[in-house]
């Protein structure tokens, strides 16, 4: 697809908006439909789209496998870490009430970071699955 000028230009324009839309879905999840899971999928879709136009090797240079795997693990740690902070502040595990002086605001803060963790893991897992499928076919073609 690298030789199709229209596609390349269009992709360059569309990808930033996809990323922005992912952020919108992520942070607007409190007030409307959305949240970490959906945002994660959209975020990954932006990279998948980029890979379709500019090729897998370019994308792998941009977002290396190592980074993707780290993202998978880090997201879970962020989520579980919020739980541990609840413990350290004297509440139960995953207790958001204690995260702020105002319990309602504490709930807000807790769910915010949990969703960050979800987004990180979901987008990384999506990308990992894409890399594995895309990478597999390529290797067999060479052989």
């Amino acid at each position: 697809m690298r030789n199709y000028l229209v596609l390349r230009v269009a992709a360059k324009i569309v990808v930033p908006f996809m990323l922005l839309f992912a952020l919108y879905v992520q942070f607007h999840g409190d007030f409307g439909p959305g949240g970490g899971f959906q945002a994660g999928v959209i975020l990954a879709a932006a990279f998948v789209f980029f890979a379709l136009i500019f090729g897998l090797p370019t994308t792998r240079r941009l977002v290396p496998d190592r980074l993707v795997e780290t993202g998978i693990a880090a997201g879970v740690l962020v989520y579980a870490g919020v739980g541990f902070i609840g413990l350290l502040l004297g509440g139960n595990y995953l207790d958001y009430f204690v995260l702020d002086r105002d319990p309602a605001h504490g709930q807000h803060r807790g769910i915010f970071w949990v969703e960050v963790g979800v987004c990180l893991t979901v987008s990384s897992v999506m990308l990992k699955i894409f890399y594995m499928f895309a990478g597999r076919r390529r290797r067999e073609d060479d052989a």
């Binding site: 780290t70 998978i72 693990a73 880090a74 740690l77 579980a80 139960n92 595990y93 995953l94």
Partner: protein, 494 residues
């Protein structure tokens, strides 16, 4: 800073957090060290929880400080506290064992994944055991199952991939049945908290959707527990998995599923629905007897030691459900103590089989001719474990079978008592197959060149084996905990 009141949740969360940590660290040695630390913590926490439950009664923990029927509740009584100790004990012994075993059985680049998944499986099994929430239970069931599918597939042998795939299909069907059952219960009661479901079932206890839920849950959990005839995934999975995984899963995974069955039968549906209104007792009894006989005979005809042990596991699950089917204090005590005793014994046996894999590279019986001369400790260990499977006095297997026979006699079923003894005779036959090959055949060139297994494998296996003999000679500890668990279950909804 974080006091012991939080142990119920730390029990699950510490191994859960260790999994992504291992992925971040990526080293195989560091991964192993973290997995060992998580397992040892799990054991310590489980013992502390068991002591706390025996001292102060049921522990309830509200996740996120949301009170019980609304939030997820972790609820631990004598029954799941005992299960936790079994889980912790086996995990804390298998994790150190894994180091040497995984090095020969799992490709090097996957070592860190192995240890991460080991922690995930442990977290999942622990979560199933502690949770008092039906949907949370399903989620943890999926965590442990997905982790074990991958753990099985990590073996170098490509047949492991097929076995894992088979387990994946059947395990997913089982999980689907469980979630349908939970959904029906939610439909009828509007709650997911197990204790709350039990109290709200009240008048609708015998309505059609509730009975359908009972049926779906029974089939789904039986698939996970490999109750005959839903055991088809088990022999392949245990035979081809890395030995450390076989040991962990054989000793804990099916046992946790049996615990879930007990929890739903006794604490949610109640004995009258399950055993009086529905003929679940008779169904379990019939299936248990067939499992004990048919799976034992199948074990006799296997040509591979790990596969033989796997079929023997199917038979031993029959013993456990036999105890459950009586729905009496003695029967349940026998079933639960057998759950523990068999877990420990079978764990030790799979670890010793793994020692043979380490040296011989295979567990085919025809390649083991005269093995006892070059690997005397390993073979002697397998014989001692085998005696435990048979139920020879002085081993843990005897204690549990004694209780099962007592329960049968108590129920006036002499025939069943006879079947228990008869199936033990078949166990003699399949254990003898190993003895005959390893002790009475002339060593081949291959086996005579082998050395005894390394201490890194023999010591952990020896600890489990010693425990299986210890709990046979001094059964008061396990029997006390098991009868406490049976009492807690028979007390009905908590």
């Amino acid at each position: 800073m974080i006091d012991s009141a939080h142990l119920p949740v730390l029990q699950v969360v510490v191994p859960l957090v260790c999994a992504p940590l291992i992925v971040l660290v990526r080293g195989s040695r560091a991964g192993w060290a973290i997995a060992v630390a998580a397992s040892v913590f799990f054991l310590g926490a489980s013992i502390a929880i068991l002591m706390e439950v025996q001292r102060a009664g049921v522990i309830s923990y509200a996740i996120g400080s949301w009170p019980a029927p609304w939030g997820i509740e972790y609820r631990i009584d004598a029954a799941n506290a005992f299960m936790l100790v079994l889980l912790g004990f086996v995990a804390a012994v298998v994790a150190p064992y894994a180091w040497a075993s995984v090095r020969v059985e799992v490709p090097r680049e996957n070592h860190y994944l192995f240890y991460a998944l080991y922690c995930l499986a442990l977290a999942g099994l622990g979560g199933i055991t502690v949770t008092g929430d039906a949907f949370n239970l399903f989620v943890f069931l999926e965590i442990s199952s997905l982790a074990s599918y991958v753990l099985i597939a990590l073996d170098r042998d490509r047949r492991a991939l097929l076995a894992a795939y088979q387990y994946l299909i059947l395990g997913t069907i089982g999980a689907t049945f469980i979630v349908i059952g939970v959904g029906l219960l939610y439909l009828m009661t509007g709650t997911l908290n197990l204790a709350d479901i039990a109290t709200r079932l009240g008048d609708v206890r015998q309505s059609r959707p509730v009975l359908a839920a009972l049926a779906f849950l029974t089939v789904g959990i039986s698939l996970k527990a490999a109750l005959f005839p839903l055991h088809m995934w088990l022999p392949g999975a245990y035979a081809h998995a890395p030995s450390a995984v076989s040991a962990l899963l054989a000793a804990t995974a099916t046992k946790v599923s049996v615990y879930v069955l007990l929890r739903f039968y006794f604490s949610v549906f109640g004995t009258t629905t399950v055993f009086t209104a529905m003929p679940m007792g008779d169904v379990l009894l019939a299936l248990s007897i067939v499992a004990m006989i048919v799976a034992s005979i199948a074990a006799f005809f296997q040509s591979d030691l790990k596969r033989l042990l796997a079929y023997s596991s199917v038979a031993q699950i029959g013993y456990i459900t036999l105890g459950v089917s009586f729905a009496s204090a003695t029967g349940l005590t026998g079933g639960i103590v057998h759950l523990f005793n068999h877990g420990v014994t079978k764990g030790a046996l799979f670890m010793l089989a793994g020692t043979i894999v380490f040296r011989l590279g295979s567990t085919r019986l025809d390649r083991m001719a005269g093995l006892a001369r070059s690997m005397p400790i390993t073979c002697a260990g397998i014989v001692v474990g085998g005696l435990g499977l048979i139920g020879v006095p002085g081993t843990a297997g005897f204690v549990s079978k004694w209780y099962l026979v007592l329960a049968a006699i108590e129920a006036g079923a002499w025939g069943i008592a006879f079947v228990v003894v008869a199936s033990s005779m078949i166990a003699v036959a399949y254990v003898w197959r190993f003895v005959e090959v390893a002790y009475f055949r002339a060593p081949s060139d291959e086996t005579s060149r082998l050395k005894e297994g390394p201490a890194a494998l023999l010591v952990p296996a020896g600890i489990l084996l010693a425990a299986s003999v210890y709990f046979g000679l001094v059964p008061s500890l396990t029997l006390g905990a098991a009868s406490g668990a049976a009492e807690a279950l028979l007390a009905g909804p908590r």
